[in-house]
């Protein structure tokens, strides 16, 4: 008798669970939103409200835009800002931010960490806006070593 009571109790809980799940699916359908566990794209922090492209498009294809711009800038000297990595950072990462690429809170890392994407952009590129205060090198300037220009038949060359 006790066993039957227990069984009934368990089925009742299961039934309630299914009902809740069904309700939540309807709730999503009502709101017109797709359920997603992916982090949302952080919006610009510099006051810009204009999107470069539609959010879905950027989520899917931002790397293509950046890659295309990379070659155009490097090889043809085209320096438009819209699709440049520099401008991604300038808009989406707050100036003077201490958050670096790799931190959960960094604009790029927030999605890349979730998606398991590893990139090497920031080995060379800045991951925070440079702003008006360029990070001028304060280290010692490289000093050259003793060297000679190859064709020294009548002339000799040495470093200063």
């Amino acid at each position: 008798m006790l066993q039957i009571k227990n069984l009934m109790h368990k089925s009742l809980i299961a039934l309630a669970g299914i009902a809740v799940m069904a309700f939540s699916v309807f709730a999503y359908a009502d709101a017109g939103e797709k359920p997603s566990f992916a982090p949302s794209v952080p919006h610009p922090t510099n006051g810009t409200t204009e999107c470069v492209e539609d959010e879905d498009e950027m989520k899917k294809n931002h790397m293509k835009y950046i890659l295309h711009q990379r070659d155009a800038t490097m090889h043809e000297g085209i320096r438009t800002k819209t699709y440049s990595l520099k401008e991604c950072i300038n808009c989406h990462v707050p100036e003077n931010s201490q958050v670096r690429y790799g931190d959960e809170k960094h604009f790029c890392s927030s999605c890349h960490n979730y998606a398991g994407v590893s990139i090497d952009c920031f080995q060379c590129h800045m991951d925070t806006p440079m702003g008006k205060n360029p990070h001028k090198s304060n280290a010692q300037v490289s000093k050259p070593v003793q060297s000679e220009i190859a064709d020294a038949t009548t002339t000799g060359a040495s470093n200063e």
Binding site: R70, A72, M74, H75, E76, G77, I78, R79, T80, K81, K86, I89, Q123, C124, H125, M126, P129, M130, P134, H135, K136, S137, N138, A139, Q140, V141, S142, K143, P144, V145, S147, I149, A150, D151, A152, T154, T155, G156, A157, S158, N159, E160
Partner: protein, 251 residues
């Protein structure tokens, strides 16, 4: 018959209006004497560089002061190059050297950097296409493609290139640099594309030596072309036939 006459007419009208506009443009260029429009070389950001220009430098060794390293400091500050206290492998985009004529003992001091050759040996040997020459004559390394093999360093007769052995902490956004690739003078391409002058040339002029001139070798009215016509300019290792973009006087 009628149709073809009409076509001819419409073509002629278009041609006339084009000629008219060109004449107006020419008038606009000459209307203000003393204003040298052709000296402004800033291009719109969205426009690709063309081979209508070839950037070059002329260095007057008579004005280059022995012991002055303003150009070196300016270059390395501009591009965030720092020493790791390993002089054999530290990066150097520009260095000061002395050349001594062994016959006469005459010594000249000059800055040595990428000579931006018309036929760059570094481009010839690059296995990936990372070492390339832009159509406006500036020789660059595309670090996205560079695998760090250093063939170009071997090929360069001027020892102009160096390898980044260490990660870069002091980054600048206009000149991304990092560990594991080869790099050299970019003729401050980020400045040039915006109508500016390379940092070394600016520093030389600020130090009141004025030994370096930067400009368009293809524009006969540019300062550099005028100077070259008047005084000439030698190439270092002219025997290699590389047709360098950097020329020297007094060597």
């Amino acid at each position: 018959m009628n149709k073809s006459t009409m076509n001819n007419e419409s073509v002629n009208i278009e041609r006339r209006s084009f000629v008219g506009k060109s004449a107006t443009a020419a008038a606009a260029l000459t209307i203000a004497p003393g204003v040298f429009l052709n000296q402004v070389h800033a291009k719109p950001a969205g426009e690709a560089v063309t081979d209508a220009k070839r950037w070059g430098m002329l260095i007057d060794t008579a004005k280059c002061a022995s012991g002055c390293t303003s150009c070196v400091t300016a270059c390395h500050e501009e591009n965030g190059i720092e020493s790791h206290n390993r002089p054999l492998t530290d990066q150097q985009w520009i260095r000061k050297i002395k050349i001594k004529d062994k016959l006469t003992d005459h010594v000249v001091s000059l800055p040595m950097m990428c000579q931006h050759c018309e036929k760059p040996p570094c481009v010839d040997v690059c296995p990936t296409g990372a070492s390339f020459k832009r159509v406006d004559g500036i020789v660059l390394v595309d670090r996205h493609i560079c695998i760090g093999c250093r063939y170009c360093m071997m090929a360069c007769p001027y020892k102009a290139r160096s390898f980044a052995h260490e990660a870069v902490d002091n980054k600048v956004d206009y000149q991304p640099r990092g560990k594991g690739t080869v790099e050299s003078c970019t003729m401050c391409v980020h400045r040039v594309d915006e109508g500016g002058t390379p940092a070394c040339v600016e520093a030389c002029s600020e130090a009141e030596h004025g030994a370096m001139i930067f400009g368009d070798l293809k524009d006969p009215s540019s300062e550099i072309s005028k100077q070259l016509v008047e005084h000439g300019g030698q190439q270092i290792r002219a025997d290699l036939g590389l047709n360098t973009g950097v020329r020297y006087r007094g060597i």
